[in-house]
Symmetry: C2
Subunit: 276 residues, 2 copies
């Protein structure tokens, strides 16, 4: 069975686990199936093991630098970190790291004094936040190869991206709480239908808005194009229309930087690419 | 030899290494001496090893949540993470993680088009940024025990905190570049003399300003007291006085959040305590 096929099954299994336990507390259920993939990817003994361990420290620090917004404006994952990032994304750690973020987001949402006026919204980014493009990146070096706008666009139009199960858990909790969802994405208007279909098929439903970039942006610079003015501008429009942005979640700092940010922001992990 | 004594020697050795290689590229020199201490702290085999491995994943995700500002308003390190945080702080990882941040900061500083008007400054936090209180926290559960204002104050008045060698490397590079240093700290005015002496003894010299909180704040709520209004307010005063804050570095998000932030901000790791 090809790695990609197993990956899809793995993500599907994880999503199914999230469906069964929509308000789970972040326990470690559903993580075992990744082990076999990790074993394959990680050289564990001998010189290769030592090199991997050394790369692990170096790449782990690089990843922390990325996640904390110290390392910015990078184009590709460092070549020596391709295996490290692959292990991370396919292994338990990515799932655990995401769980911690979502647990905090749900605890925050539960603590809100909501007025239920139909105007309280939570802003969700799409790629690597609501939907996972890991099936694509697993075939393209986990971000270690230069971004290819054409092939990524083809992947998007397949509409096959699985949900990130943790984000789906937050989405469902917010639905119960009466906080409406607004998707705000760097995807372009020409991708509206396929994105909406993809989201629905993965269990997202009943959103208030799906905000995309004008189609003209499809000819732009790909993921390196700055997203802050567009996303902050769209959040400002939401506020101007009377919405109260109680929360905002994304995998890129450009999803959550720039006023108005929202009542509280949450940063999901993503060591595969950078959007400034 | 007591662990604390060895820790002091270790930090001194690391600082000496930084002196010898003031512009090192982030290579892994000077890291070997930590190994013995890590070996002591980390249970490596059997049930204890499995528990440690499991805690490692859980605590690693918690630490990432802290460093990415997803986990906020926490009072103490989770009890099950005391050993993890101790290992992290005493081991190679903390040093490596700090190196990545400082390498980015130096690359950014080197890239600046400076006008050398004597008004270009870089803001440095003090605790866990310029000086390390690891000798204190190593004796107090690495943040797993509640903050004790009295004993920490006694430690500060010893004036014995070692430099964080990576920050000292940035400090020296900025000095060469002609960017002046401003220390901006939650320490209080009554600690001015001991803080200045401690900084000088550790190799910091020639700073433009050392900004502390009014002494009245010494009776306040300790590290949980919000620092954002004070620090952002002091940065605003700097700007109003004609200074250009080209950079800003701290170990807490409250060091770098709040306008004016500075030209670019850098977040050093600190999983031992949280200041909101």
């Amino acid at each position: 069975m090809a790695t990609t096929t197993r990956l899809l099954l793995l993500l599907a299994a994880a999503a199914a686990a999230a469906v069964a336990v929509p308000c789970c507390s972040g326990a470690e259920e559903g993580l075992a199936p990744t082990t076999a993939i990790i074993q394959e990817l990680r050289p564990r003994q001998g010189l290769s093991g030592q090199l991997a361990a050394r790369a692990g420290i170096k790449c782990g620090s690089w990843r922390l630098g990325v996640e904390t917004h110290n390392v910015i404006d990078w184009k590709t994952v460092p070549a020596e970190c391709e295996s490290y990032v692959g292990n991370y994304m396919l292994g338990d750690r990515y799932r655990h790291d995401s769980q911690v973020v979502i647990n905090e987001a749900i605890a925050y949402a539960n603590s809100l004094s909501l007025c239920h006026n139909g105007k309280e919204v939570w802003v969700f980014d799409v790629d690597e936040t609501s939907l996972s493009n890991l099936p694509y990146y697993a075939k393209h070096g986990f971000g270690a190869k230069p971004y290819n706008a054409t092939s990524f666009r083809e992947y998007v139009f397949e509409g096959s991206a699985p949900a990130l199960p943790e984000t789906l858990r937050l989405y469902r909790r917010l639905h119960v709480l009466g906080v409406k969802a607004v998707f705000l994405t760097g995807r372009t208007e020409d991708q509206r239908a396929v994105t909406a279909d993809n989201l629905r098929r993965q269990g997202y439903y009943g959103w208030e808005k799906l905000l995309l970039k004008p189609a003209a942006a499809a000819t732009g610079g790909g993921p390196q194009e700055s997203a802050v003015p567009f996303k902050a501008g769209e959040r400002q429009k939401l506020q101007d229309a009377g919405y109260i942005i109680v929360g905002n979640i994304g995998d890129q700092w450009s999803d959550i930087l720039g006023a108005p940010e929202g009542g509280r922001t949450f940063k999901l992990p993503d060591p595969m690419y950078y959007i400034g």
